[in-house]
């Protein structure tokens, strides 16, 4: 009798323990961008649906990149999900560091993810990270200042038009600067912007034999144009401004134009944060008529490091956070302008989303970016504002520092390019190219 009830109790306990074991606590590393912060606020919905708890490690972009790179390369195992981008995913996937995401259920609808995003987050056709949001870059401009200058922004402007408009909009006494562009050093900051810009000027990082090309005329044209433009029409101290600094300047009404991530559109048109919310127009990133525009392609995506103990729970989270339902959930809570953009085709077919002023331009920008053929002349690398090789982040940060110093007036564009050429050649030789 006693034995029987003891056995029953034990069975009950085992059943209880095993159900409890299904509910995991997963640790997620993510970037402190607005859309991710919003996701954290909605985590309760995930916990209610699956029983899994979530712990967040939210970091600034540069810090996040270093933390997750160090953790995965040293097999630290601190995180069950990492927020990574198009640069890391193919390299890490190739190294076998990520869990493949090719077994997602049918109702998740992988085919609904924009092909450009799927391509950039895959290696050899296997998806290794699911896009949380995708972005390209475009021009955001002040319609009132444009009108005041007597100009009309074409849907697809040239760099000459942009530079001319920027100089006309500039009114330094009233702290209005015609154009704000990234100048802060870093491979994900100024190097990304200038690399994308250089594509439209016919420049490239490497030729087909991996020889650096900073000694080319196209690079000289790019960098001189960029420096002259910012000196004439940019805000003071532009060499310290990254994405966040420019966002804040634009929201304060101090920039006539800003060429940056399409994701910023929802921040500059949000009346709670932006003083110019109702005066913002959008246009494609400029070109010079050579066939490539200066817009990039990027996705912030969720990936699972290989070797995690909580793979199943992590997969459930990724399905939740990058699903169509999640988009609906955000729209319900925060409005359609604030849903994570650029990842799913169905979003752009949604009648509610079509009214958002920046939706069309965002999609057009994303569709016009081709990471497999990023430049006018052929290149051996994939990626528009980066070259997807492990050495790139380290090299581009140093190159970005030379560009930044040139913008600050500490050296000429030619000196910066000569140094960039030398240090890139050194690093590539050391890496065995």
């Amino acid at each position: 009798m006693y034995l029987k009830s003891a056995l029953r109790a034990a069975t009950a306990l085992t059943v209880f323990a095993s159900t409890a074991a299904f509910a995991d606590t997963i640790t997620i590393a993510t970037v402190n961008n607005g859309d991710m912060i919003r996701m954290q606020g909605l985590t309760e919905d995930f916990t209610a649906k699956t029983g899994h708890e979530v712990e967040w490690v939210t970091l600034e972009e540069n810090v996040l990149r270093q933390r997750v790179t160090t953790d995965i390369s040293a097999k630290g195992g601190q995180f069950d999900i990492m927020t990574i981008g198009m640069y890391e995913t193919p390299i890490w996937g190739k190294n076998g560091w990520l869990v493949p995401l090719n077994d997602l259920p049918a109702d998740y609808d992988v085919d609904d993810i924009l092909p450009a995003m799927r391509g950039g987050l895959s290696h050899d056709g296997t998806l290794f990270a699911a896009p949380f949001y995708g972005e390209s870059s475009m021009i955001m401009y002040r319609t009132d200042l444009m009108e005041k200058a007597g100009l009309e922004m074409p849907a697809a402007p040239t760099w000459d038009f942009v530079a001319d408009a920027a100089r006309q909009m500039t009114d330094k006494d009233n702290e209005t600067y015609g154009i704000c562009l990234r100048g802060k050093a870093g491979w994900g900051e100024n190097a990304a912007f200038i690399t994308a810009m250089s594509n439209s000027f016919g420049a490239r990082w490497f030729d087909e034999n991996w020889a650096p090309q900073f000694d080319s005329e196209a690079w000289s044209n790019t960098l001189n144009f960029y420096i002259n433009l910012l000196n004439d029409a940019g805000p003071p101290g532009a060499s310290n401004n990254g994405f966040n600094e420019n966002l804040s300047l634009f929201q304060q009404g101090k920039c006539g134009m800003w060429i940056d991530a399409t994701v910023a559109a929802s921040f500059v048109t949000n009346p709670n944060d932006s003083t110019v919310a109702d005066k913002v127009g959008f246009a494609l990133a400029p070109d010079t008529g050579l066939g490539k525009r200066s817009n990039w392609l990027w996705a912030w995506a969720l990936a699972i490091p290989a070797g995690t103990q909580k793979e199943a729970a992590a997969k459930e989270f990724i399905q939740w956070a990058t699903s169509k339902d999640y988009i609906e959930l955000v729209a319900e809570n925060e409005g359609w302008a604030n849903v994570p953009p650029g990842a799913r085709i169905s979003l752009y077919e949604n009648a509610n989303y079509k009214d958002i002023p920046f939706a069309k331009m965002t999609l057009e920008s994303i569709l016009s970016a081709d990471p497999n053929n990023p430049t006018v002349d052929p290149v051996p690398y994939v990626g528009i504002q980066f070259a997807a090789i492990p050495e790139f982040a380290g090299i581009a940060t140093q190159v970005g520092q030379e560009f930044s110093a040139a913008l600050a007036g500490q050296q000429t564009a030619e000196e910066a390019l000569a140094k960039a050429q030398a240090l890139t050649a050194d690093e590539m030789e050391a890496a065995g190219y």
């Binding site: 870093g186 982040a393 520092q401």
Partner: protein, 288 residues
Amino acid sequence: MATQHSRSAARIMMAPAVILLLGWMLVPLTMTLYFSFKKYLPLRGGDLGWVGFDNYARFLSSSAFWPSVQATLVIVGGVLAITVILGVFLALLLNQPMWGQGIVRILVIAPFFVMPTVSALVWKNMFMDPVNGLFAHLWKAFGAEPVSWLSEASLQSIILIVSWQWLPFATLILLTAIQSLDSEQLEAAEMDGAPPVARFGYITLPHLSRAITVVVLIQTIFLLSIFAEIFVTTQGSFGTKTLTYLIYQRVLESQNVGLGSAGGVYAIILANIVAIFLMRIVGKNLDA
């Protein structure tokens, strides 16, 4: 008087702590040495074999090496000069009887309790920003063109930020030293007709020399590895890449552990050279 027994008992009881501390130091040091002779690239498959002194040669021949040593020494020298001179001045001032002395002293010491990253962010965004910063508004109020501090005067700006943080430490140590100065000596000198500058030069300053030595030694140790302020403000651009920052860039940004480790060994050597140099010159004060 300790007996033979109690002495060996003490040794046995101390042993675990000593071993732990030694291990604490030796393990990272040995690993740094080990990796510095390897080609270790985590993103390219990890350990790619022994390379002898290649990493050392490459680190030394890199165009960034000498400028980084120079930047390190300029920052250390600049901060030391500012904190010691202003520290003496502030300590003399705070030693004067005044109304609200307690509050003033706390205010002077306050920067020391602010985290380096926080203070660097505040300086960068609230003071030195050329559009929205306080300095920019001040400059404009006087009709001058705002200065973009962190790019036009980057080293000086960083020295200013770091000095602001370390000044309280220097002041505190020097104030304590001044308070231990025998006031009768000063009074006697005053009665003999010695002017204030002479009293300061012949009595106060020599009395402070030991405290200054302590300040210089301790600050040098911390300043050689200065990092957070540079990371937050310029990220090593505009000639502010110190040796520590260069090593960080090699290991974490370029993901080249071998090369960075070789840099780490150089940094240890540099720190030791500076330490010996300091001990020789100023350390004598401590024996006196």
